[in-house]
């Protein structure tokens, strides 16, 4: 299984699309590693710097509705993966992006708006570090003295993909 947990980066906008996550001009790369410097390069968001240390340190992304919409490119999850970001938490996801995440053994976790709001509120207090307990399906977010624990749900299939580190291995043994 992949490593989950660490510092959280907050992207406060709905409909962040795969062109913003990894622009089309990098789709000519045939190695995942090559995508590393370009993650979120075209995302223009107040207080966000795609070259900044904050993104470099991040291990988890928290965002709003319809994350990962647009092109089907799996380069989007890969760009996260090669930057050691293996979880995205959002209010909702575009279907293909969500499936791509689990297909790579990564997690796209949906949480209701109130929970997402409270995480954004927490982020105002400082750097948020998250601890992920996969077997208990629980994430603990910590900032200074504050701590918030949220449970999450995965379908059995999604959990199996995370455990198998992706769909290719799973499918090959089964079909």
């Amino acid at each position: 299984m992949k490593m989950f947990g660490g510092e959280v980066i907050f992207l406060d906008r709905e409909n962040i699309n795969t062109d913003e996550i990894i622009p089309a001009r990098y789709l000519t790369e045939v190695k995942k590693e090559a995508l590393k410097p370009y993650l979120l390069e075209d995302l223009e968001l107040e207080g966000f710097d795609s070259n900044g240390e904050k993104l470099q340190r991040a291990k988890i992304v928290v965002s709003r509705k319809n994350f990962g919409c647009g092109s089907s490119r799996e380069h989007a999850p890969w760009a996260f993966e090669v930057n050691d970001i293996n979880i995205v938490i959002a209010e909702s996801f575009a279907r293909i992006f969500r499936q791509n995440m689990f297909n790579c053994g990564m997690m796209a976790i949906e949480m209701p708006k109130e929970k997402i709001d409270s995480l954004f509120a927490l982020s105002k207090k400082g750097n948020v570090i998250a601890d992920v307990n996969f077997s208990a399906k629980k994430i603990t977010f910590k900032v200074a003295e504050d701590e918030v624990s949220e449970s999450f749900e995965l379908s059995e299939f999604d959990a199996a993909l995370v455990e198998a580190e992706g769909w290719v291995g799973y499918a090959d043994t089964r079909y």
Binding site: T28, K32, S72, S92, V168
Partner: protein
Amino acid sequence: MPQNIADKIFAAHLKDQPFEGTNVLSLDVVMCHEITTPIAIADLEYRGMDRVFDPTKIKAVIDHVTPSKDSKTAIQAKILRDWAKRHNIKDFFDIGSNGVCHAIFPEKGFIRPGYTVIMGDSHTCTHGAFGAFAAGVGTTDLEVGILKGVCAFRKPASIKVEINGELGNGVYAKDVILTVIKELTVSGATDHVIEFVGSTVDSMSMEERMTLSNMAIEAGGTCGICLPDEVTLDYLWEFIAGEYDNDKGKALEDFKKWHSDEGAEYASVIVIDATKIEPVCTTDYNPDQVILLKDQKGMKIDQVYIGSCTNGRLSDLHAAAKILIGNKLAPNVRGIVSPATPKIFDAAMKDGTMDIFRQAGFCVTNPTCGACLGMSNGVLAPGEVCASTTNRNFVGRMGRGGMVHLMSPASAAAAAVKGELCDPREFL
């Protein structure tokens, strides 16, 4: 229990349900292009599994950047080309015979009612126009599709979009689908199939239906399905007549088995009066930000792009040419037209359509995706505005810092002549 068309296709292709809610379907067609497939091929090689489940069910094309623009895209093309050769994939389309995937594959008769289709491309939903379940997937799903001929889906609920009435002059399938997306919103159909029904859809050609289905994904939809009927049959007849002993009645009967049953369930039903639809375009960066063109007058443009898997077909070129005839591009406006396939290109050359584009001052490119995804053949500079017949206006889509207004070919042609967005009915 009464079933809708997506239910029926799922039931007919269900191979496994490893967990509740997970449906592993067998696939009839796996389509590949040179942007998302090479990494799948490389991974299969790396795993020592460089195989394909059935070379006759795999269709491949080099279309996104063709001819290659640099050595990186040349390498991608080469990986796909070599792989198609190595695995004896006969339906492979390369320079000279290639065109935009979602235009050339239907044109070759590869998609049939009731089929399951995947591709590493979000606009795979286009093929739902034939009464198929066709979904865009990522590279890993594609990889498993290539290797095993299966794909896993959560069973999508269906949204019925019923469109009735005749379209007004200057109003096209593109205006219909943009109006529908505005209603559904950019994520309103996520994890859902959109089923297009109603008299407007019934009277549409396959080209128009493909325009509808093509943009289902812009509302988040998994697939946009039209029910297969005589129009579908006529389009496919040259490919399937033999299978039905030349008996159209027999084929139509067979098609009908896919039709949604009376009383089938839908997550929601939206009814749209086609007679009220007017020419529209997108404004800003989401496909559901749709406004009437008559309210958007005066917005200056730098480029007009007519092409893509949404609106690069012959009837689209004709609609644009009708407005361009005898007119010229406005000063400071660049026009680019890319017929979506060689067959369309040839037909447009023969019937004089290309002359009209050339006389108006358009650049005619070979069939390719090119500018649609901002990779080649007409990428926008920061601050530039494009009137485009493509399907996606997200930030940066046709070039960093560029703004894309989506609209019908007639509306794009009208903008080309006027130099600013306008209602195409001014020219009709």
